[in-house]
């Protein structure tokens, strides 16, 4: 241990100043340099970074010192190697008893940090719960001035209107594309059949970009962390979040928080990767909470990605209020709330053998799936829990289940559970669905089996904001697509089938975000077959193709759809923009194409009733826009015509120049050809002639008024 004045002095509240810290400290003052982030540096220059202070120890007389010390050593020695003479339990010189706290010094700050994490809150017994702090933290707390001085009020500087893009006069939507090393944000100007640039930047991100869920921010990812950009007219950097080697990010649905993830190679190659997850407040950049651990802790359930972790690890619940987030662990679901960023009721929800969970998109309801275990003694089940009460709202046992997948409808009205069941012989599986009607009293459950039970389910999708869903099913290379509604004509409480389209070249479903229309797509092996289908009228609007398309995304309004070919393929990289009914509006080719993402819009402020009224009276509202459209297209043709005229004039000039030279050289040419007839006479020439065509003859009788 470093030489210090005696410990007693420190904790009698005196003379903290006698501890001199090495010069050059700059706690918390981040460098303003463009690209230098303050590294997550655990090596504090104090040299005291590897010391923890454990408080709330029992106060014991001298006789019990050894025993207490032994207990502490046992606990703390397991986490790391306590340095020689690294455990010090100060004693009250008057009473001879321990003072109730101790110092523990490790060899590295990492061990100290780990000790703090693992033992803070540890219950030695009912009245002694460890409060563990880093030594350095105390220094910070001691620096707080004794006199409270009210904070200065800075003059009000209005921030930029980050929602400005929504006020576009032409009601256009934006999208971001990444091709090569450029990232570009553009307007989709469908009237002019081309994209209109907003902002472009080379090397804007080091890996990928992502919009925040309501479209306010564009996030970029760099070696040192993540950053968000936005603004009124252009994209300024609004905030940075330090997280070295960040790999993945996730926004909370209300854009209040940003979760960042990184995975690091362990020092012992046989251990799992070390995972670091940070949660930041988006607007202030403050880190609200961090999670550190081994990849094994975070990889329960679901399918693992490259690092064995299914992202996002923390799933947000309770809709746009960003109130809760949860993750799955071994036999537990840990649900946190964002007031304090700690577990609800300070403990996780214990569910033995839980494999999968998902939140309702709008309400704080958790759906859990527990697979069968005990060799068939305990059937599989799906349960719905209300948060924060943790009350089980509904449960259903499922027998002979091999696997299941949960699909929420985006208004939280329905939950579909696709259940794969073993046949009696256990040799194969067949699929069925359980539908939970969440908003109805007692949450009724309805079972649905396909007409052909053995059909494999290739895709399932709810209609956004609607009561219908689509399923692609079948075993052939051309499967069937069926549409169902959660209501039927006679009874709003029963599922009914609307139609089955047979033999379609589709393997993916893309509903328009406003419902009613859907694209049946054949991606990957089916080479980009697209069918634009109207589910209201149950008819195909158009079939088209975007050869080799890898991705499809509707714009947030449901007016346009973008299909793109990314650099997974070498050729034909770029994207197409289609109208909702399948008309190709324009096509942009870009080599090395990586991403196409529409900028999301926040939810409409209209009530559902108002929306319905507008839909009913669409003709009345659209009349004034039709006139605008006419004007624009007239203007466009004017501009087009002007441009063409100029280009043609320029060409004429060239041609005349050449003709002149050609004439001048005529004689020479004849000579070279030994006097052979000049070529002009035998050259063909195109002449433009006017042809009058009689279109129609019609007679009209006019009446005279006398």
């Amino acid at each position: 241990m470093k030489r210090l004045p005696s410990w007693e002095l420190i904790f009698l509240g005196l003379d903290f100043d006698s501890i001199s810290l090495p010069p050059g400290e700059d706690f918390g003052i981040k460098s303003d340099d463009e690209d230098i982030y303050q590294e997550d540096n655990l090596e504090h220059d104090t040299g005291f970074g590897n010391i923890v202070i454990v408080n709330n120890l029992p106060v014991v007389p001298r006789e019990k010192f050894e025993k207490l010390e032994g207990v502490i050593r046992k606990i703390y020695g397991q986490i790391g190697v306590i340095k020689e003479d690294g455990l010090w339990m100060p004693v009250d010189s008057d009473s001879g008893k321990s003072l109730g706290y101790c110092f523990i010094e490790y060899n590295t700050p990492q061990e100290a940090e780990l000790a703090k994490e693992k033992t803070h809150g540890y219950k030695l017994d009912r009245s002694h719960i460890f409060a563990v702090n880093m030594f350095d933290d105390f220094d910070r707390f001691m620096k707080v001035p004794d006199e409270w001085a009210p904070p200065e009020t800075k003059p009000y500087a209005p921030g930029e209107n980050l929602q400005h893009w929504l006020t576009d006069a032409k009601a256009r939507d934006q999208f971001v594309i990444r091709a090569g090393s450029d990232t570009e944000v553009l307007w989709n100007d469908a009237r002019q059949s081309k994209p209109d640039p907003v902002y472009k930047r080379n090397f804007w991100t080091e890996s990928f970009v992502q919009w925040s869920p309501l479209g306010t921010y564009l996030a970029t990812v760099h070696r040192q962390g993540a950053a968000v950009w936005g603004g009124e007219a252009t994209f300024n950097r609004l905030m940075r979040y330090a997280h070295p080697q960040v790999k993945l990010i996730d926004f909370s649905p209300g854009e209040k928080y940003l979760v960042t993830y990184s995975s690091h190679e362990p020092s012992n190659p046989r251990d799992a990767n070390r995972v670091v997850i940070n949660i930041f407040d988006v607007r202030t950049g403050k880190m609200m909470r961090d999670f550190k651990g081994s990849a094994d802790d975070f990889a329960i359930g679901g399918t693992g990605g490259v690092t064995g972790v299914s992202w996002p690890v923390f799933r947000w619940g309770g809709g746009k209020d960003d109130k809760y987030f949860a993750r799955i662990g071994k036999n537990i679901i840990s649900v946190y709330e964002t007031e304090t960023f700690s577990l609800i009721e300070k403990k996780s929800l214990k569910v033995e053998n839980v494999m999968e969970f998902s939140w309702s998109p709008t309400d704080p309801i958790l759906a859990l799936f527990v697979p069968e275990f005990g060799g068939g003694n305990q059937p599989a089940r799906v349960s719905l829990f209300q948060i924060p009460s943790k009350e089980e709202l509904r449960q259903k046992n499922l027998f002979s289940v091999s696997d299941c997948k949960m699909y929420w409808q985006n208004n939280g009205d329905y939950l579909a559970v696709k259940v794969d069941r073993y046949t009696k012989t256990k040799k194969s599986t067949y699929t069925g669905f359980e539908f939970f009607r969440i908003k109805e009293r007692d949450i009724p459950i309805e079972v649905l089996e396909l007409e052909n039970k053995n059909d494999k389910i290739i895709a399932f999708a709810w209609e956004p904001k609607g009561h219908r869903f689509a399923v692609i099913h079948g075993d052939n290379p051309r499967p069937d697509v069926s549409f169902y509604s959660m209501r039927s004509v006679q009874n709003t409480g029963r599922i009914s089938k609307l139609t089955t389209l047979k033999g379609k070249q589709a393997n993916a479903l893309f509903w328009s975000p406003s419902g009613r229309f859907i694209i049946l797509a054949g991606l990957k092996g089916l080479n980009g077959q697209l069918e634009f289908y109207n589910v209201d009228d149950l008819e195909t609007m158009a079939t088209a193709e975007h050869f080799m398309a890898t991705d499809i995304e509707w714009d947030p309004t449901g007016r346009y759809a973008a299909t793109s070919v990314t650099s997974v393929h070498e050729m034909e990289n770029g994207f197409n923009i289609w109208s909702f009914n399948g008309k190709l509006l324009y096509r942009i080719l870009k080599d090395h194409f990586f991403q196409f993402l529409w900028r999301p819009r926040p939810a409409s402020f209209l009530t559902p009733e108002k929306e319905e009224e507008i839909a009913k009276n669409l003709k009345k509202y659209s009349k004034k826009y039709e006139a605008e459209d006419q004007d624009v297209s007239m203007l466009l043709s004017e501009q087009d015509r002007e441009k063409r005229r100029m280009v043609k004039e320029e060409w004429e000039k060239w041609v005349n120049q050449w003709r002149q030279l050609h004439e001048e050289e005529k004689l020479e040419r004849q000579k070279i050809r030994d006097g052979e007839a000049s070529d002009e006479e035998e050259e063909y020439e195109a002449k433009e002639i006017e042809v009058e065509e009689l279109l129609d003859v019609s007679e009209e009788v006019l009446s005279f008024d006398d």
Binding site: M571, E572, R644, K648, R669, I672, R673, D674, E685, A686
Partner: protein, 318 residues
């Protein structure tokens, strides 16, 4: 044809069509009905290029067998063989047919070269002597043609640069601008009917139009596939591009039959107006009949397709 096509050329009168392919034997056809007239036997390697004299009496061909040969068009008789130390590639008769330019590929230590040979009126007087040899370490030269009044030779090839040489001294007069020029190998070159401008096609998926005398870039046409062949209509302001696929992308290409197309562009507005599908493989050769009423395309699939335009073609308006 038994092998992939490499080049197509109409004679001045537009009644004969000459085709070259990798199968060693150039062929001549009637241009209106596609009936085969005959083949010219004698080469031992792929034939890359050919040109026919103004009077349609003589044909010159360049081949990978390291020779260029002069033929009697009517009889098919070999008139003369020019021998080289490396594969011959592009050939072109001068105005007046008294000279011919022949290019050779880089081979072993030899660089590519442009040879000018005198063509004798009477083939028995023909000599193999070069009037001029231009050497340059510029990669393979894919096309070389004569400039107006035979004063210049224009070459283009693998290094994506177009060069204009003085045909008498062999001095380099002009080079195309690197910024605005092609970015990858130039595969094709086609002169306008009056020679005042020419079109180049490149693997960089574009074709460019240049002024022959000043080498100014006038127009650029962009497509989605590498360009192997180009042609200009002598009658209307249209440009045709034919191409294929990168060899590396073979397994991912659209294998639906007959989908390789010759793309038509408006020459002045640089906009695509349409395409003619039908080839089963990349298109390597394109040529317009001098009367502008038909054109032919040759593909990797070994087929030569003859297309006659219907009256609507001449009424196309953008």
């Amino acid at each position: 044809m038994k092998g992939p096509l490499t080049f197509l050329k109409y004679n001045r009168d537009g009644d004969l069509l000459f085709s070259c392919a990798k199968d060693h034997n150039p062929t001549v056809w009637f241009a209106d009905n596609g009936e085969r007239l005959g083949t010219y036997r004698g080469h031992n390697g792929a034939v890359w290029c050919c040109d026919v004299s103004r009077d349609s009496m003589r044909l010159i061909t360049g081949s990978a067998d390291q020779t260029a040969k002069l033929w009697n068009v009517q009889t098919g008789q070999q008139l003369y063989t020019f021998n080289f130390d490396s594969p011959a590639r592009a050939v072109d008769f001068s105005v007046g047919d008294k000279l011919a330019v022949i290019t050779t590929d880089p081979f072993m230590e030899l660089t590519s070269a442009i040879h000018v040979k005198r063509i004798a009126r009477d083939s028995s007087d023909q000599s193999g002597e070069s009037v001029l040899v231009i050497r340059g370490p510029h990669g393979r030269i894919n096309r070389a043609v004569w400039g107006p009044l035979n004063k210049t030779i224009i070459s283009a090839g693998e290094d994506a640069v177009i060069r204009i040489w003085d045909s008498e001294s062999g001095k380099l007069l002009k080079e195309s601008d690197k910024e605005s020029g092609h970015k990858k190998t130039i595969t094709a070159l086609s002169k306008s009917a009056d020679g005042s401008h020419f079109l180049t096609g490149s693997l960089d998926k574009s074709a460019k139009l240049w002024d022959t005398r000043t080498l100014t870039l006038i127009k650029t046409y962009v497509t989605e596939r590498p360009v192997n062949a180009v042609a200009m209509s002598p009658l209307i302001d249209h440009v045709v591009l034919g191409g294929g696929q990168d060899a590396s992308a073979v397994t991912t290409t659209d294998h639906r039959a007959g989908k390789f197309e010759a793309k038509f562009f408006d020459k002045i507005l640089q906009e695509e107006i349409g395409g003619v599908k039908g080839h089963f493989g990349p298109i390597n050769a394109l040529a317009f009949n001098p009367d502008g009423k038909s054109f032919s395309s040759g593909g990797e699939d070994g087929y030569v397709r003859l297309h006659h335009f219907d009256p609507d073609y001449f009424n196309i308006k953008i």
